[in-house]
Symmetry: C2
Subunit: 534 residues, 2 copies
Amino acid sequence: MAPSAPPPPSPAAVPGLLAAAARYERALREDDLAVLDELFADGPATLRAEGGAALAGHAEISAFRATRGGAPPRAVRRVHVRALGPRDAVTVTETERRDGGSGLQTQVWHRGEQGWRITTAHVSGAPAPAPTGPPADGGPATWRVPPPADGPLVAGSGAGPLAGVRTAVKDLVAVAGQRVGAGVPGWLAAAPVETATAPALRALLDAGAQVNGLAQTDELAFSLLGTNAHYGTPPNPAAPGRTTGGSTSGPAAAVAAGSADLGLGTDTAGSLRVPGSFCGLLAWRPTHGAVDTAGVLPLAPSFDTVGLLAREAGVLHAAARVLLGGTTGGAAAPRALLRSATLTGLAEAPTALAVDAALAALSVQTGLPLLDLDDDFTPAEVTAWTAAFRTVQAAEAWAAHGSFVEGNPGALSAPVEGRFRAGAGVSAAAVDDARAVLRGVRQRLDAVLAQGWLGLPSTAAPAPAADASPAEQDRVRAATLALTSLASAAGVPALGLPWGRVGALPVGLCVLAPRGEDTALLGLLGQVVPGPAA
Amino acid sequence: MAPSAPPPPSPAAVPGLLAAAARYERALREDDLAVLDELFADGPATLRAEGGAALAGHAEISAFRATRGGAPPRAVRRVHVRALGPRDAVTVTETERRDGGSGLQTQVWHRGEQGWRITTAHVSGAPAPAPTGPPADGGPATWRVPPPADGPLVAGSGAGPLAGVRTAVKDLVAVAGQRVGAGVPGWLAAAPVETATAPALRALLDAGAQVNGLAQTDELAFSLLGTNAHYGTPPNPAAPGRTTGGSTSGPAAAVAAGSADLGLGTDTAGSLRVPGSFCGLLAWRPTHGAVDTAGVLPLAPSFDTVGLLAREAGVLHAAARVLLGGTTGGAAAPRALLRSATLTGLAEAPTALAVDAALAALSVQTGLPLLDLDDDFTPAEVTAWTAAFRTVQAAEAWAAHGSFVEGNPGALSAPVEGRFRAGAGVSAAAVDDARAVLRGVRQRLDAVLAQGWLGLPSTAAPAPAADASPAEQDRVRAATLALTSLASAAGVPALGLPWGRVGALPVGLCVLAPRGEDTALLGLLGQVVPGPAA
């Protein structure tokens, strides 16, 4: 957070530019030469550079394109928009091909009487990175019950839409024949062997998935950082030397390392969205109540959800549909993507720009217009909902686990125990007041989401270093909680898309949809994969 | 020529931009991280895209550069400058590495209080094109006496700075033991076997070069097109289906095809500069009188010169120094490169832009400032010198060859015969008037070249199609003659640099230096080769 820096410019602030870029992208997909020709400025000065040389002039460029026979299918991952003035702008677009190769496309645009036209373009590509050996998935820091050498820990039905999907299950979820460890050895020691599998996991198994291991969590899920004083910090395969974020830390490490395909976890205050952001994974927090939380250790039931992490859009989509049971919401597309300058400004400047680039890319890829919120949230609103959320969460967490905390001194690390104990002193009146604030937030966000889906940073920064100071960790956690607690407070679904980049570090774009519109929101996943191979 | 189109913008018209680009290039060459950091705009919004991804923010970019350990050495071939306003501009730079690989670099610049800074950069490269088999060099259309299978046609001393340099000799130059064919079978039939080799060629042979064949010329060198009604049109290896230009057509085809390293030819009205431009070759027309023309068939002695074509800068430089005998001019660098909007505007718009890009590249590569001429030539001046040059050339050509034309009806093709016959009717008074005009041109150009070296298009367009209509050929020839006749009229040296590109077609940048400054002008050749391999 650098509150004194000027806010980053919005990619939505250049009227019509992203719409023109989306039109270009669609024409490229369809090899619509007429539109591509139209979008390049007429005349001899227009440039297009690729490979060994630049072509000059609309005629040369058009002739080149006519003989090319279309561009390889691709998905737009980031569109960096830089306004140069009311009539001039630059876009730098990063794309991904189905084979893992990537593309870069710089376009200089000028807005004339006919609208935005490309005056200079530079296109280049890079092959898929060479495959490396599988990264270490962290051993005991990642897995409380590691994948057995001789097959899955729990076999599923073996058939169905999730056949063969290896699932890392957060160690808060009941698995028949296993105990729940909850990231706390003192909890595990007293935990019974479960006799029934949690319904959410049961549904995944019935759809063909398998459980390959039980993965670690922050202590009783009451953290966002991915550190664990007892079991160690799982490594982040997407950002070596940094944390995974939490509390769904173990599933995130396992999925990012490729030793699982799907992570089943929980999200109360961001516990799926944060590790998704830090580890470069897709993350889905469902509408509150849309997925059965039975058999899953609670933290703060007003906000608790059971959701998913995955590397691949198809896996996440299929698993989410299984959890939703086909019952939640339609597939109505939104009218627009919305951006909040206030929420974006809660992130560090490089993260804000990275998330803006991912949001602009989503607009270009889907063709949905990107609009800056007219009725933006005020900093006072953010402060109010964050405080109210913390109050209710702390009170409910104490209600859920206060007796364990009281009865097992020293079982929790000091910071987590302190977080629980903060809930002990919250008065009923304070909770009532906080719930009233949250009802207001819910109404406020409903009104915003009636205008379109809201995109915001999943986290305020990329993953902190694993050895970051407590002060640094608290700073990232506090700034991130201001962002994540909005969806938690309002109970709306959130989809974390992992395509922001700060240097080599992933950082997520979080898209919020109206309560119950999970199916439509998940429909985005079909649009963010590269097109079929040509 | 599209006289109604607005003139292309000048790359010199954005004050300080090329100087900043030159500073950047020098810093890149020297891996001067402080200057590179300085030239990238500060702050988190600055972008640098390469390979698979874009880096955002000055800090990220600086960190990347510090670990890179310098960029591969390269020469700047074209800098396309596009002004977006007084404070914003784009450059697209094409570079060449020593290994034949190429680079593209798009930079968006903003001029703030500190000067021009890069706000967005996109860098990509391409490997050297795969070697292909040697292109056909045209057989009898290229060679009047082809290279013998068992060794050179004429061996040189075998030692010296040109050892092993295979030279295609234009069939106007006396070679002991051979006849001069002059592109006209009827001339060849009556030509004696030469008993002495022309002194210019003798010097090359003494320096180690060898003659591998006698190469074709336009009829009696009185054309610029490279067509020959008797022997056919040599193929242009650099532009398939197009002419080589002339009259040094055969040497150009041979050198461009790689079947010779050096072309020895003549330039009266552009006969080296034009094929250099059309075939992508370096071309040197010396100061009038600086290289001995003895033993070379004259066309118009007031303008006739003997000069060179080559693919490689080192070969041209070494051979030119041999021809100059170390006696002509110093090596004083010019103060600036000059651009004439009038002369540039004589070329077709795509050619003008291509030559501007090569001229801007020369400025960036050498660090010489590029200035638009304040006291530019007027269209009336161009018309006057072109007409005066034609008058004197025609009169002298008739004086040289009128008796052959009269005595050998039908020996020449109708267009060339017509050109000679036009000289028959020129009065002595008209010649005197024309010579007076040319003296004025000479003074005028001397004053310009005292300010710096002048860059202009070598030709008005790239090579025409080999089957272009006579009208199209005449159009290109007339527009080109207006450009080439300036150096011819003034007797100044001209260096043709082949790095303009209209699509895939080469087109030359011609640099004029003060009379006698050949050595300094040739010094440019040392600056336009890629740096030594890292």
